[in-house]
């Protein structure tokens, strides 16, 4: 009984920090292949991971508050997510500019990812990978990487597309007349005069 407590705590900690092994592995692989700083430390500006536990708690909390419907729908549409931003000084750091796409594809394919989009222009590269074997027909697991001259942004997540679609449809009705309780600052964003 006493031994199971630290194991349970470790499991909860792991689940709350990231939890999604596939998403984490995918974003890690992208970071390892795309981070061009060899040996020199890049400055990590953002590193956020949301597993099912904090999102579930968030959904529970929001459900108990008079939050807008769109907030509830947004939380419902995300199963897990992670975002990281790394920046470096291209004039100072040793940067390897070329990306070995074939090697990256090989690493990602071994983890069950398929590249669906590759865009390269000037010094910017955008890559989008999706995972096969979705849990449900509305389940989408994706990783996106954007590498620029001095910045690398990697985002990954698992989403409920049906909920996202409902959210997108709902955003069309985001005028203040539908939400009289919104603060006036938010109403001002949508051009309403109060």
């Amino acid at each position: 009984m006493l031994l199971s407590v630290p194991f349970a705590g470790a499991a909860l900690l792991w689940l709350s920090s990231g939890g999604g092994a596939r998403v984490t592995a995918g974003t890690e692989a992208l970071r390892n292949q795309l981070d061009p700083t060899t040996g020199a430390a890049a400055q990590t500006q953002v590193d956020v991971r949301l597993g099912w536990l904090p999102l579930t708690v968030g959904r529970l909390v929001v459900g108990l508050t008079p939050a807008p419907r769109e907030a509830r729908m947004a939380l419902r549409s995300v199963r897990e997510a992670s975002v990281s931003v790394r920046q470096w000084n291209p004039d100072r750091e040793r940067v390897t500019p070329n990306i070995d796409i074939a090697a990256l594809d090989s690493v990602m394919e071994r983890q069950g990812w398929t590249r669906v989009v590759r865009v390269q222009e000037e010094l910017q590269t955008v890559l989008v990978y999706v995972a096969g074997n979705a849990a449900g027909e509305w389940d989408l697991t994706a990783c996106v990487a954007v590498r620029d001259r001095d910045q690398l942004v990697i985002a990954g997540g698992r989403f409920d597309l049906e909920a996202l679609t409902e959210l997108a449809r709902g955003i069309k009705d985001l005028s203040p007349k539908h939400h009289p309780n919104w603060p006036s600052q938010i109403a001002g964003i949508f051009g309403s005069s109060r």
């Binding site: 398929t114 590249r115 669906v116 989009v117 590759r118 865009v119 390269q120 222009e121 000037e122 010094l123 999706v130 096969g132 979705a134 027909e137 509305w138 989408l140 597309l161 679609t165 449809r169």
Partner: protein, 197 residues
């Protein structure tokens, strides 16, 4: 074996063979219309290079998403097995190779029985549209290849059950200009060649 068990076994075997036959019928057609472009060489001096490769799972999701608001698009996407798009910026490092490969590709498609329904040479754009048909009413796949003034090459391969009258809609929704000119029902044999001096 009891008669009821034998009947169940026979029914199961017949169902399995029907399913297997169905998959066997659909898979080779889709594969035959899928064209291997190989690996394109990106431009060496920072020009544009785009690869899009959408398979049935993603297209199926898109079809389900579009069902409520755009049922026509959902129906179109539901019949498509894969979409591949390559946009290759051309520079001195890859222009000759890419141009030769596209011309070779067109020759191979012609030799393999694909119908060239559009050939256009206009305003420094060299456009060809090939269709792989099955019978008179079904299009299994299409390839659009464009060489734009030595600056850019575009190759598109769409595989699936495409009705000829939906080709223009396909062109409109995916921004494929040559397909927008098609789409008059039964007009899949349209061919035009315009060459400006």
């Amino acid at each position: 074996m009891k008669p009821i068990h034998r009947n169940v076994a026979v029914t199961a075997l017949l169902s399995l063979s029907l399913v297997t036959t169905t998959f066997a019928d659909s898979a080779p057609k889709a594969v035959a219309a899928e064209v291997d472009f190989g690996k394109w060489t990106p431009p060496s001096h920072g020009g544009e290079f785009v690869e899009v490769n959408l398979k049935e799972n993603i297209l199926g999701m898109a079809a389900r998403l579009a069902t409520k608001d755009q049922p026509e698009i959902a129906e179109l996407l539901g019949g498509i097995h894969s979409i591949r798009v390559n946009v290759i910026g051309l520079d001195d490092g890859n222009r000759t190779d890419t141009t030769d490969r596209i011309k070779t590709l067109r020759g191979k498609l012609d030799a393999a029985g694909w119908e060239r329904v559009v050939t256009a040479n206009e305003n420094h754009s060299d456009v060809a549209v090939h269709l792989k048909t099955h019978g008179k009413e079904a299009v299994e796949g299409l390839v659009v290849s464009v060489l734009e003034g030595g600056k850019q090459a575009v190759v598109v391969n769409i595989v699936g059950d495409i009705r000829p009258e939906k080709l223009a809609l396909l062109g409109e929704k995916f921004g494929i200009e040559p397909l927008k000119q098609l789409g008059v029902p039964g007009a899949k044999h349209t061919e035009k060649t315009e060459t400006k001096p």
